[in-house]
Symmetry: C2
Subunit: 485 residues, 2 copies
Amino acid sequence: MAEQPLLIVSNRGPCRFTRGPDGEVTAQRGGGGLVTALSGLAAVRPVTWIASALSDEDAEMAARGPYRDGDLTVRMVVHDREEYDRYYNVFANPTLWFIHHYLWGLATEPSVDRNVRLAWDAGYVPVNQRFADAVVAELESAEGDLPPVMLQDYHLFVAPADIRERVPEAVIQHFSHIPWPMPDYWRVLPPEIRQTIHESMLACDVIGLHTARYVGNFLASVAQFTDARVDTEAATVHFRGRTVRVTSRPISVDPEEFDRLAASEAVLAEREALQAWRPEKVVLRVDRTDPSKNVVRGIQAFELFLSDHPEWEGRVTLLAKLDPSRQDIPEYTEYMGAIQRAARTVNDRFYTTDDWQAVDLRISDNFPEAIAGYAEYDVLLVNAIFDGMNLVAKEAPLVNDRDGVLILSENAGAHPELGEHALTVNPFDLQEQADAIHTALVMPEDERRNRIAGLRAQVREHDITRWVEALMDDLARARPEAVER
Amino acid sequence: MAEQPLLIVSNRGPCRFTRGPDGEVTAQRGGGGLVTALSGLAAVRPVTWIASALSDEDAEMAARGPYRDGDLTVRMVVHDREEYDRYYNVFANPTLWFIHHYLWGLATEPSVDRNVRLAWDAGYVPVNQRFADAVVAELESAEGDLPPVMLQDYHLFVAPADIRERVPEAVIQHFSHIPWPMPDYWRVLPPEIRQTIHESMLACDVIGLHTARYVGNFLASVAQFTDARVDTEAATVHFRGRTVRVTSRPISVDPEEFDRLAASEAVLAEREALQAWRPEKVVLRVDRTDPSKNVVRGIQAFELFLSDHPEWEGRVTLLAKLDPSRQDIPEYTEYMGAIQRAARTVNDRFYTTDDWQAVDLRISDNFPEAIAGYAEYDVLLVNAIFDGMNLVAKEAPLVNDRDGVLILSENAGAHPELGEHALTVNPFDLQEQADAIHTALVMPEDERRNRIAGLRAQVREHDITRWVEALMDDLARARPEAVER
């Protein structure tokens, strides 16, 4: 089945188009862990990738027809601007994102008001419909076997039902890159919305999630919100005459890519700057400014560590490399404010000198600087409240040059794989995080070496190729007659 | 087994002691749904009730030894004031309460800091220990068969393990009067705390919860946090050589008590006052000012209703009878502020006259006025975010004189029993609640009559006696040889 083409569908595509100084529109490789991970697929077989046009240049290119680059074809879906805003900035974020990460303060938020209803009826549903239209058009124009459809993430929960209805023999896979929440928390959404989402998901042949915990939550959710018959042992769901398999497939990274990146000019230049700046020890975090990432408690835990261990004042800095995220959404700008206030509080408390500052917030999208940080940390803090996987925890140890210690939240999707080589923390427990920072800083060299070796071995063995193969195997098993030749 | 004595254990006891003008300390019947419900037990057999001494007078009486009133013996446990404060005002509330009702805004709260640790180590655990001491003392002094131990609610999660260890042959039942949350939300607590709680619960012989949903959540929780073997079909848990049964036993009320109350002088006087005050229609809510009760969204939904249906302006008032709750706890005083602001917003928008106000907030502990409200409502709004049972939904229709319509949250424990006779709403959905208020107000008389008749029949058939019998049956089945003579 090596030559079987694939149909990848995600909100954000593998490239974006920009207009150069010469007025010509050219393609640039897009960023983000999802795109990187899925690009591995395009390396092994022909891929048609359906994604949203996100800029005027994207829309301009979309009007010219599919963009082709070797075996990769990109077909962009152009959206109405307001419809897309409701879909992305109201329904997908924060509504769904906050449900999947248990982030709502339910006493007062959210309210399902006209705004949220509109975001569903005239945002999420029609945008999913447009994606389904594009998928169906590809399927109908396919020569020979139907290419399997690989839908990505929470932006596309209601497309599967529509595709199944119009192309009953389609092979459909959905992969969620975020946690699946337990059924009670889905009750934030009105019954018909949560039912529509779960029934649509059951139009797939196979559903992929990062961990066994998420698989369990998914099975519990469909048992409550649909009339499906769930076999928990087998992780299968029987619904409307079809069987849906639900699998745990932890995503990973491409170690060779990080080897290359670490040796790149841009990263080496950033490393030099970091080395000139660095105090004796560096505690690093690299995150988007997303409330799920737990940046505020991380800063508070660092403050507690410094106050418990004053001998470290002047010698260790928390370097927080933060990529500003979703600043069109009030919950995110408020959280950004909370991060800044927390850092200010610590830096007001511990005397900043020309050479030292307790917390160094660097809020910018600077990928080479992040990779340079990966090389330079002594302690890597990944304390997410809940996190689908957290690729930083997999990437950074590959690049690190100082036998740095990973502190890892028990609620990160990476924890089942990496926990035994990390210092595990409960993300709500400030004292435990403060203690872990100290433990990591004073850890003997041989223990640090053993731990980072364990992390690297795990990631190199379970790399992105293995994840891609697992997804392919799931597809093959889902519908052998449709996928295999 | 009619004469088998019972040992009831709850934080709040069946009576409190006050000093009269003559300087003498006398007992007064305590309030609260729990005490009322459990008092039904004392009517059928001898009961020893262990509870906290909550005042100086209580402590004074405790020093004199157990208090006896007919077949009821009250033994009070005296606590250190600070220890009790940490146990009650930090750990039980808000920490546990907010976990059980999914109320934390996890992005920033709670942090498990020294305060919460101290509340556990030097509050919740030692207070539970004192309760266990009192239980063990009773068991050791019992003549003949051991009286079964009936522990009540989230204040006493870690007493069972201690009792089991010291009196292995004890018969122990625990009943939770609040929802049981899904395992992911327990992860707010550090691993050793959540494990201690769940293992202690499995020292019981039988565990009672209000609904099948809570039973499912409990089974999922112990499967994750202990090494117990769970049989989901049978709702049993096998742990350390013992079998624990988990049962769904919805609590209820005593209809005759409400018949009596409705005819009482105090209530009749309040009814007269309400009748003199009332507009054409009254939408009533009766709650504690607890964030789980969803008072703020209820007020916002009423505002939306009035703005959608201006013909009702001047004709219908939202009467919110609110019992001030836990005002020692910041989260509760903040919520009280949010309630007041929401009411002010509506009353500023809709012109208040001598005869009419949109929202009438009555924040006081006035039980006769609440019962008078039960008689006088046209619409009863029970829109709780999550609620263990909600007895108001069962009590009020018994007393109502206007064929009033119940609007009931799908997340109230009462919903499985009462939902078919109510207008069901999602507590987050403002529009649905606003629409339900309108539907209820314009509902034809015969439909209203059918619905309230259905509610009354359900409650009268499944009354408090039936709940008490179910608990007794569970005890008998748990350890036939120990309970039956």
